[in-house]
């Protein structure tokens, strides 16, 4: 369903669908197998002006917002939730600059990202700091005009492939999350190297890698916002990026649903297409309804983000939570619909099921999303009571 999209958004959707069909589909199985990074496809994104859809025109982008980012991510993920991440994870790495960068920083970094010449990545997670993001141990110590970074970031999407990294590090000890800051670090900065590339269950065409900082000196001018704002930068970034993960989840779910319906129409057992059996029809109906509901929530979240509303945590978390749970459930059911064939790599649904799982885990586990939603709901109620409503 594409109603309520503007003409430009519809155009973007059509173009991404074409890229997915003509360029991604022929390579998705091979890249899932090899785990090779999809640079050829990134080139196509660049040539098609996809990379900058959520970046303002003054910085070389298309001037869209969260809705454009979500529309593109969903269409690309429909065919491959791993390859689409080269685009979507770049958005995650770019949001800290978009939201907190100075005009100078934006001018320096955004045009190359918008043009698709450079990818970006966001680096927060560490071995001992996942859901408890405030526990990060990577340090950035000011020394003259430079911060000296030390520490290791883990599971960084686009790690090693991206040129521009937004890295969250501790600038002050003993003050908890108020001692955290966010810095832009360029690839090839001395002291910045990459660790092992992870061998993953799904999204295998996406690169996930360690970032290692050993006395890595970063200009003070690369600080985003002010010192101590890093935790807020990370949280606001997630508020903007979570609808993107949700869109990725909807895309994966839609792709699996399409495959399941197509298979059910053609597969014959007991002398008739299996789609004629009500037991299977009800599964397809539930899958389709879930996907539609998830998409509606993602679009709602994107619209709220684009409206300029300040408090986005709840709606973004809801979209991410709901859509990723839908993706897991729908892809699992799609494998079931295809039966033994669904379990085989000759059909794409087992890959979609593997790809779906990560959407329940990254950019905040779904348990963290529930915690965010609950805390917002409780806060809202308390505020109402205080106002005497």
């Amino acid at each position: 369903m594409s109603c309520f999209l503007t003409e430009e958004q519809q155009m973007l959707k059509d173009l991404c669908a074409q890229i997915a069909r003509e360029k991604i589909l022929p390579v998705r199985e091979e890249l899932d197998e090899s785990g090779e990074f999809p640079w050829e496809i990134v080139k196509v994104f660049a040539e098609s002006d996809i990379c900058g859809v959520y970046i303002p025109e003054e910085y070389g982008g298309f001037g869209g917002g969260a809705m454009e980012m979500c529309v593109a991510t969903e269409e690309l993920s429909r065919v491959c939730g791993g390859i689409s991440l080269a685009f979507a994870a770049t958005a995650l790495g770019t949001y800290p600059i978009l939201l907190f960068g100075s005009d100078e920083q934006k001018k320096k970094y955004l045009p190359a990202i918008a043009a698709g010449e450079k990818l970006a990545a966001f680096a927060l997670t560490e071995a001992n700091a996942g859901s408890d993001a405030g526990a990060i141990e990577t340090t950035a110590v000011l020394d003259g005009d430079e911060y000296v970074l030390n520490g290791t970031k883990q599971w960084i999407t686009n790690g090693g492939e991206a040129e521009t990294y937004t890295v969250v590090a501790r600038t002050k000890k003993g003050v908890g999350i108020r001692g955290i800051s966010c810095l832009i670090v360029e690839k090839d900065t001395p002291g910045f190297t990459f660790g092992k590339k992870e061998n993953k269950m799904g999204i295998r065409a996406s690169a996930t890698r360690e970032l290692i900082f050993q006395d890595c000196r970063v200009p003070k001018a690369n600080l985003l916002g002010r010192e101590g704002m890093g935790f807020m930068v990370a949280m606001k970034t997630f508020d903007h990026s979570r609808p993107g993960v949700a869109a990725q989840a909807v895309g994966i779910a839609q792709g699996a649903l399409d495959e399941a319906v197509k298979y059910a129409r053609h597969r014959e057992q007991f002398g008739q297409p299996v789609a004629s059996f009500q037991g299977l029809q009800f599964m397809l109906a539930d899958m389709a309804t879930q996907v539609e509901a998830a998409r509606a929530l993602v679009h709602q979240a994107a619209r709220v983000v684009d409206s300029g509303e300040k408090n986005l945590a709840k709606i973004s978390a809801m979209a991410k939570l709901f859509a990723s749970d839908v993706a897991m459930s729908v892809t699992t059911d799609a494998v079931q619909v295809l039966g033994g064939y669904g379990y085989m790599k000759e059909y794409p649904v087992e890959k979609m099921m593997r790809d779906a799982k990560i959407t329940q885990i990254y950019e905040g586990t779904n348990q963290i999303q529930r915690a965010v939603i609950a805390s917002q709901v409780i806060k809202e109620s308390a505020a109402k009571e205080k106002r005497g409503e």
């Binding site: 173009l15 890229i19 196509v44 040539e47 098609s48 002006d49 859809v53 298309f62």
Partner: protein, 264 residues
């Protein structure tokens, strides 16, 4: 340098069904696309312009007003301008009058250095219009081209043959029909699509062209479709099994009377 690419809007034959009663295509609800071979011609035109660092690529088509959609698609991938030859007088054209009308359009446009077409359209499969246009313009043409190298006022073209390829050197202006091996067509860009949406498409009718009305449309078309039918399936033939030394003499023995006209 002016490059003209001739395209045809065709039904997407992967989705087309045949009416078994009339043996004609069921067009209702079938999406229209740019003839896939023409996409390679468009790409080659764009690459020529990019390699030369100058020039314009003009896309031209003859057909009803909805062909504008195909022309906008061409604009979205980077073509500079689009011309649609559209008039009730052009309706019902066969390959002869289509070539005649397109040649008149190219003449009006003027100064074309290179004209590119797909090797054939996937609906009619005649492969006649490209060469027909060249003949009517009085310029050289090479069909089934898989490589074109421009070199000032002339060029080298590699023509696909069944057993290899010919390398031909010909002067410009010239017309080429291209095969799939020539390049990999690009996708449109978002900016291209936006530009295409707003672009003005030039529409020329009978009155705009220097043409003889008797050569146009159905009246100007010598082709008459008498009957459309699906050919009957032929029997599978005879298979000679066994050792070569034994089967060949048997084959000769059976064929000789046929060759002599003594048997069927």
């Amino acid at each position: 340098m002016r490059i003209v690419v001739l395209i045809k809007q065709v039904p997407d034959t992967t989705e087309v069904r045949i009416d078994r009663e009339t043996n004609t295509l069921i067009r209702e609800g079938v999406p229209s696309i740019i003839n896939p071979f023409d996409m390679y011609a468009l790409e080659e035109g764009l690459r020529m312009r990019e390699a030369a660092g100058e020039g314009t690529v003009t896309v031209m088509s003859m057909g009803p007003p909805q062909v504008e959609d195909a022309l906008r698609e061409a604009l979205a991938i980077g073509v500079d301008e689009a011309v649609l030859l559209s008039d009730r007088a052009f309706a019902g054209s066969d390959t002869w009058s289509t070539s005649y009308t397109l040649a008149a359009g190219i003449r009006k446009l003027g100064d074309a250095d290179v004209i590119l077409c797909g090797k054939q359209a996937i609906d009619g499969d005649t492969a006649q219009v490209g060469p027909g246009v060249a003949r009517l313009l009085g310029i050289p043409q090479v069909a089934y081209v898989k490589k074109i190298t421009l070199d000032g006022d002339s060029c080298t073209a590699e023509r696909m043959m069944e057993d290899g390829h010919d390398v031909l050197r010909i002067p410009l202006p010239a017309l080429f029909t291209v095969v799939k091996d020539i390049n990999e067509p690009r996708l449109p860009s978002l900016k291209g699509k936006m530009r295409a949406k707003k672009a003005e498409i030039t529409v020329w009718g009978e009155g705009d062209l220097d043409v003889d009305p008797e050569e146009l449309g159905l009246d100007g078309s010598p082709t008459r479709v008498m009957k459309i039918f699906a050919p009957e399936l032929k029997a599978g033939g005879v298979v000679f099994e066994g050792e070569v030394g034994e089967t060949v003499p048997r084959l000769v023995e059976e064929l000789l009377p046929v060759l002599r006209g003594e048997a069927q």
